[in-house]
């Protein structure tokens, strides 16, 4: 049955395109007529082998060839654009909440628009625009947030009234709408033909394309890709790109050394109809009704409508090809609720005749964002897949970023949120993936409010104290599979209410977190921070110190027992990681990094440390439970438990010592808290965790000790202007740009990564500056709360976006952190950002279209530090990411 659709949607255009295609490529590749399947033999070697002839593979080939790389082979097991790409609904939309996805979609749209002209292949590109409907006020807020983002990006976008919706699309029932977002530049295009056009251009640039060639596995030697084995022989290569779509997981697991790519397919349905009596115009905008979980586009005078149901059907959990993709069944009963939503939205379509229900599997990822980048275990093994049903919108941009990554070593934008290395083997369980994608697919349409968490695949990694904390009212969130406490619900609170606090406004845990913050300020709190990534680096000689000195910007040649906050920078001086390193002995170091650095940091170190058996790198994350004692009375609790003086004279800030706490010996105590508040972090061998926790809680009673969670921690660190890696800091941010010059020792007597750039920035200034904003006319009770990604305006002009925000219980104001740029008023060119530039502006923060006055600050409030000790002891770092 699917075959009929192929003929209708794609093959007509394929035939139209085919003569040109054949003419251009007949010299080197076969055509779809199978009489002569493989006239051209595979080359013995190539620089790059791309597996997958869908939109991703062809886009990567296109962009690589555009960047001047010629020695590229693209292999496709069937025919080009025959998988998910062929069945794609053909909508190119820039309406994306996250900025990196938004940029990819924006680029894709521009690319597809000129593709027909560039290649001569008809793509059917039609700029129709799109309308995203809101049935509720909350939905409208989320659309307004996207609109704010799009507007500062220069993408035309408008929030419109229901009446205007009716003018744009006469079939829409607007009675249940509160508003909508209109993107006039969104488009429709045949994804299969886009893919063919990209292939045509790539082929013209020298890329060899071989259809009906199946990659059986990739060979990896000494952590590097050496070649691919196919059913038609072996190709030696330097780079391999896995664009196998929903088969990417299996392809990753086919070799001796598995590459974990956490994607899982779900069935996805859409409907095709015959034309209306008065055929729909091909320029009619696409309609997205997220509250109804559906999208509707015009299609050959009729409509194409699909959606993301609440009860998705995961597919291929046990492996590939139990059924051929073309033979997937239509399931009308499953589609029923979406059909109801369609007829509710467009009641006039009742009499429209059905042509077909298409079942087109899509691949989904554990966090609803796509996967790109290099494998942590095999250099030269790149991946681009897991598009969560937005492959066409992302295809162009994603292919470009990956090509840049292969050619330049890193893309031109920060793509950490999409980096394969944000996942580890722990997200690679089929059961986990099956359960998680069943949650992810409905989420495509669900309202995403600040601080939402996934509900499936939980309680995978937990602290030994999990049950104890849970029994005391802990509410949990998850990071890299690890359960972390958000806050503790006091006994007697309305638990039901708290678990359903989905709002863009003041959340109902406000007072709970407030009291935890107060306790941190006035007494002492315990936060379980076991999820942090912990490495030990040691050597027999001085290799550890020498290498770390090169990889880290701060001076690590400090006396034993000292803790150093330092960035792990790349060549461009950007933060690959932000961490605390304790010198345990002359030759060993203990390194603490954010939770989600586990794979990335490990890979970075492995790739940069010499292959030297004297140098040992060990991941000890699982060996220690970390308890953070925050507050002025932490000193008293700890000295009573250890019979050791813990005051500043004996145990200064940024100090590390192994000591006994209660009966337990060998506890690593560090005088850091990641918040700027006084206190200690205890690194406890896990078998002692419960004992030490009990001792701390018992002893702490008289000092008013209580449990606290990450929300309190975040409020504390943000009001102290602490930047966190992954949230505020990324590979495109240098210490100079975020006021961290004091953590860089340019004169430490040896060269380090990124040094040149930092020197240059020190001399010539920076082009963006991390700034703290205090919201002035913002009513915490009544106004929308900031989240992150809100545009910042200086004197009415856009200068950047926020990266994190929190309510400061001390200032009784909202604090936003973000980067300020200086764009030339006419040319838009980026200029140096000076202190004066920051200080002399009038600022506003745009929250869902509403602007709030803000005061900009480059340094934290000194008044917050009145209780502090010497100023130079002030700890100025932290790196949790919420």
């Amino acid at each position: 049955a699917a075959g009929m659709f192929l003929r209708l949607l794609s093959d007509i255009q394929w035939r139209a395109a085919h003569p040109k295609w054949r003419r251009m490529t007949s010299s080197q590749r076969s055509t779809s007529t199978s009489a002569e399947p493989h006239p051209v033999s595979l080359p013995a070697q190539a620089q790059v082998v791309i597996c997958g002839g869908g939109i991703m593979g062809t886009s990567v080939a296109y962009h690589l060839s555009k960047m001047g790389w010629k020695d590229i082979v693209l292999l496709e097991q069937g025919r080009l654009a025959a998988g998910t790409t062929r069945f794609c609904a053909g909508i190119v939309s820039t309406a994306r909440p996250a900025s990196i996805e938004l940029k990819m979609a924006h680029y894709s749209n521009k690319l597809y628009q000129q593709l027909e002209q560039e290649t001569g292949v008809q793509t059917g590109y039609m700029k129709t625009g799109s309308i995203s409907l809101a049935q509720t006020q909350d939905r409208l807020i989320s659309l307004k947030r996207i609109a704010s983002s799009l507007n500062v990006m220069g993408v035309p976008c408008e929030i419109i009234s229901p009446k205007k919706v009716l003018q744009l699309h006469p079939l829409i029932n607007i009675h249940d709408l509160v508003g909508a977002m209109y993107l006039p530049e969104d488009a429709l295009v045949s994804s299969a033909n886009v893919s063919l056009a990209l292939a045509t251009a790539a082929s013209r640039n020298g890329v060899q394309i071989h259809e009906r060639t199946t990659v059986s596995h990739v060979t990896i030697q000494k952590g590097r890709v050496t070649g691919v084995e196919t059913d038609r022989g072996r190709i030696q290569c330097e780079f391999f790109v896995n664009c196998a779509g929903q088969w990417a997981y299996e392809l990753g697991h086919s070799g001796e050394e598995p590459v974990h790519i956490p994607v899982h397919a779900c069935e996805h349905f859409y409907l095709l109809t015959h034309p209306l009596p008065q055929p729909l115009s091909s320029s009619l905008p696409t309609v997205v009704d997220p509250d109804g979980r559906i999208y509707i586009r015009n299609w050959q005078g009729g409509i194409l409508s699909g959606g993301f149901e609440k009860n998705p059907k995961p597919l291929f959990t046990e492996g590939r090809n139990q059924l051929e993709i073309q033979n997937l069944q239509e399931d009308w009963d499953h589609f029923g609720p979406l059909l109801s939503a369609l007829l509710r939205r467009m009641p006039g379509l009742e009499a429209l005749q059905i042509m077909q229900l298409v079942n087109c599997p899509e691949s989904f990822t554990p966090d609803m964002r796509c996967i790109m980048g290099e494998s942590p275990t095999a250099r030269g093994y790149f991946v681009l897949t897991g598009m969560n049903s937005a492959g066409l919108s992302y295809g162009g941009g994603a292919g470009k970023y990956l090509a840049e990554w292969i050619v330049n070593g890193y893309p031109s934008e920060n793509v950490w949120p999409l980096d394969l290395k944000r996942f580890g083997t722990l997200q690679s369980s089929r059961t986990f993936l099956r359960h998680r994608v069943m949650e992810v697919m409905p989420l495509m349409c669900d309202l995403k409010v600040p601080r939402w968490d996934f509900q499936t695949g939980r309680q995978l990694r937990t602290s030994p104290l999990y049950d104890r904390l849970d029994a005391q009212g802990a509410r949990w969130m998850e990071k890299h599979g690890f359960e972390r406490v958000k806050y503790f619900v006091p006994p007697g609170s309305d638990l039901l209410d708290l678990d359903h606090s989905k709002t863009f406004y003041k959340p109902d845990w406000f007072d709970i977190v407030g009291s935890e913050v107060k306790c941190c300020k006035e007494a002492v709190c315990v936060i379980d921070m076991s999820s942090f990534t912990k490495f030990e680096i040691s050597s027999t000689g001085d290799e550890a110190l020498e290498n770390l000195q090169y990889l880290f910007s701060n001076d690590l040649d400090v006396p034993v027992g000292h803790v150093v906050h330092t960035g792990m920078l790349n060549e461009k001086g950007g933060y690959e990681n932000d961490c605390s390193i304790a010198r345990l002995s002359k030759r060993s170091f203990f390194m603490i990094s954010p939770t989600d650095q586990q794979v990335h940091c490990w890979t970075w170190l492995k790739n940069h440390l010499p292959d030297d058996s004297n140098l040992v790198l060990e991941d000890v994350t699982w060996k220690y439970t970390a308890l953070n004692l925050i507050g002025p009375r932490a000193v008293d609790v700890l000295s009573e438990l250890s019979y050791a003086p813990m005051t500043a004279e004996h145990f200064p800030s940024l100090f590390c010592k192994e000591m006994s706490v209660g009966y337990a010996n060998g506890i690593r105590v560090m005088s850091i808290t990641h918040t700027g508040e006084p206190g200690f972090v205890l690194y406890i061998p896990i078998e002692y965790a419960l004992h030490v926790y009990n001792e701390v809680m018992n002893m702490g009673q008289k000092y008013g000790i209580r449990n606290a969670g990450y929300y309190a921690l975040r409020s504390l660190r943000i009001e102290k202007f602490f930047a966190f890696w992954g949230q505020d800091l990324d590979a495109f941010t240098t210490p100079m740009e975020c006021g961290r010059e004091f953590q860089v020792k340019l004169d430490k007597g040896m060269e380090f990564l990124g040094q040149e750039v930092l020197l240059e920035q020190k001399q010539n200034g920076v082009y963006k500056r991390f700034t703290m904003f205090i919201l002035e006319d913002h009513d915490t009770d009544m106004d929308l709360w900031p989240w992150w990604g809100e545009p910042i305006f200086r004197n009415g002009r856009y200068v950047g976006k926020t990266t994190s925000s929190a309510y400061s219980y001390t200032l009784e104001r909202h604090v936003c952190l973000g980067f300020v740029h200086h764009f030339h008023e006419e040319t838009g060119e980026e200029l140096v950002v000076t202190t004066d530039f920051i200080n002399q502006g009038e600022y506003e923060i745009d929250i869902a279209g509403q602007r709030f006055q803000a005061k900009a600050k480059l340094y934290p409030f000194s008044s917050l530090f009145t209780q502090r000790r010497r100023k130079d002891e002030v700890e100025l770092s932290g790196y949790q990411r919420e």
């Binding site: 029923g336 009742e350 009499a351």
Partner: protein, 458 residues
């Protein structure tokens, strides 16, 4: 006026009852797994009755539905008394003697039946002594008659039916010094009731039927589909044999007046029934009893009314037709129901709905549009029905309730339409009777494993 789904459910489930045959040692050795029963009134009060009991002195289980007319008194009496008459008829001589001795000497009586009753199924306390005495007279006669032969179930059933009807008639003729009881026995005799009773003992299933209730066996074919086998014949004008029988029993001169407008003497739908002495007694007897009876009876136009062309009574009998069926493993269930169900549903649909309900398998073919012309609206309607069909299955924990939901709520596509269901259930009392009849259903589920084992032994 519109009933919400929960309101509809509370109406449908008000009278539902389920019984599971208890397991011993983790095994149910009975050929019956259990039964679901339910009834939905149209008359106020409902004129249908149901009974279920396990015989304690012999093996076997009794289940029956009783459709009353001209009031509920007769159906009520039959539902209370008939199973005792059957049980007694089945008892061996020694047990009858034992029972008689116990009564004679004021000792505790052997329990004869274990009833499985819904709280709404009542027994009239006032008449229990009277009923007991009649029953005792019956077993005393049985003791005297001791034939020495083993009791044949068919015969026992026929005897019990006939004897009870006879007792009802006699009690009304004799009267009772207690004026309440006197009125009661007269109401029982002047009203009527059909009876459809199943006796299950191992693989032996007997159906004794009097009137137009019906017993249908649900059989699962090899391909998994369901078929229905009738285990009773309706005693009404649609049954040629029955019309023939009535004509045979009366002079040829009455041939034309016997059955008019599909009714006996132009008045009565069922051709066999308990009670209904107006069709059994001579005119003289009727007049005497009515005149000497209480005022309420005397002033009742119905009781005073003598059927036209009433020449050679009795015109009516309570003698049942008995069908014996050897249960096979493919016989999965038995549906006993009053005509309220059979008027609205074909037995084939009944078998399918119950079968699919009990097995939890819904043979809904996936829909494929193929080359057909289907509009979005049509497809939407179709899908909504299919969803309703599935959801109605999950709503019901009782097969009888599930059947009633379909009987009342089915639309032209054979699926439950909530709107229709809601309308039918919210009809005012006086209108309800015009749109539907009382419905009483018992669904007996058989134990295929036990039945299979019996078969292998034979």
């Amino acid at each position: 006026f519109y009933l919400t789904p929960p309101q509809v459910n509370s109406i449908l489930k008000a009278n539902e009852y389920s019984f599971k045959v208890p397991e011993f040692d983790g095994k149910n050795v009975s050929s019956v797994l259990g039964f679901d029963s339910n009834q939905l009134p149209a008359n106020a009060p409902i004129e249908d009755r149901r009974s279920a009991a396990t015989c304690l002195q012999t093996r076997g289980m009794l289940l029956g539905v009783f459709d009353g007319h001209a009031g509920c008194a007769c159906a009520q009496a039959v539902s209370e008394r008939l199973f005792y008459y059957i049980a007694i008829s089945l008892l061996p001589h020694e047990t009858l003697l034992e029972i008689e001795n116990a009564v004679e000497n004021g000792r505790a009586l052997l329990p004869i039946l274990q009833w499985h009753k819904h709280p709404n199924d009542y027994f009239s306390k006032e008449a229990s002594k009277l009923y007991f005495n009649s029953l005792r007279t019956y077993w005393q006669e049985l003791i005297d008659l001791n034939s020495g032969e083993t009791t044949d179930v068919r015969e026992a059933l026929i005897n019990a039916f006939k004897r009870l009807d006879n007792d009802i008639s006699l009690e009304a003729q004799v009267g009772d010094p207690n004026s309440f009881l006197n009125y009661l026995v007269l109401r029982v005799a002047f009203s009527g009731s059909t009876a459809c009773v199943a006796h299950v003992d191992g693989v032996d299933l007997h159906i004794a039927n009097t009137g137009d209730s019906r017993a249908v066996l649900g059989v699962q074919e090899e391909d998994g589909s369901w078929s229905a086998v009738n285990l009773s014949y309706d005693h009404n004008a649609q049954n040629e044999h029955e019309v023939e029988r009535v004509k045979m029993e009366h002079p040829k001169s009455e041939e034309k007046s016997l059955v008019k407008q599909d009714r006996l003497l132009g008045l009565l739908m069922p051709f066999r029934a308990f009670g209904d002495v107006k069709f059994k007694w001579s005119i003289e007897l009727q007049k005497r009893v009515v005149e000497s009876g209480p005022d309420q009876l005397n002033h009742n136009e119905y009781t005073k009314f003598i059927p036209p062309n009433y020449f050679t009574p009795p015109y009516l009998t309570a003698e049942p037709e008995v069908i014996h069926h050897k249960l096979r493993p493919q016989d999965k269930f038995l549906v006993l129901a009053t005509d309220g169900l059979w008027e609205t549903m074909h037995r084939q649909d009944v078998a399918r709905i119950v079968g699919e309900y009990l097995t939890g398998v819904h043979h809904q073919q996936p829909i494929a549009v193929g080359g057909y012309k289907v509009t979005l609206g049509q497809m939407h309607g179709l899908l909504t029905e299919r969803r309703a069909r599935i959801s109605s299955v999950f709503e019901d924990q009782n097969a009888a309730t599930h059947l009633i939901r379909h009987a009342v709520g089915n639309n032209e596509f054979g699926t439950v339409d909530h709107e229709r269901l809601s309308k039918m259930l919210s009809l005012p009392e006086e209108l309800a009777r015009m749109y539907r009849d009382d419905i009483t259903i018992i669904v007996v589920q058989f134990n295929s494993h036990v039945i299979g084992a019996y078969q292998n032994e034979e």
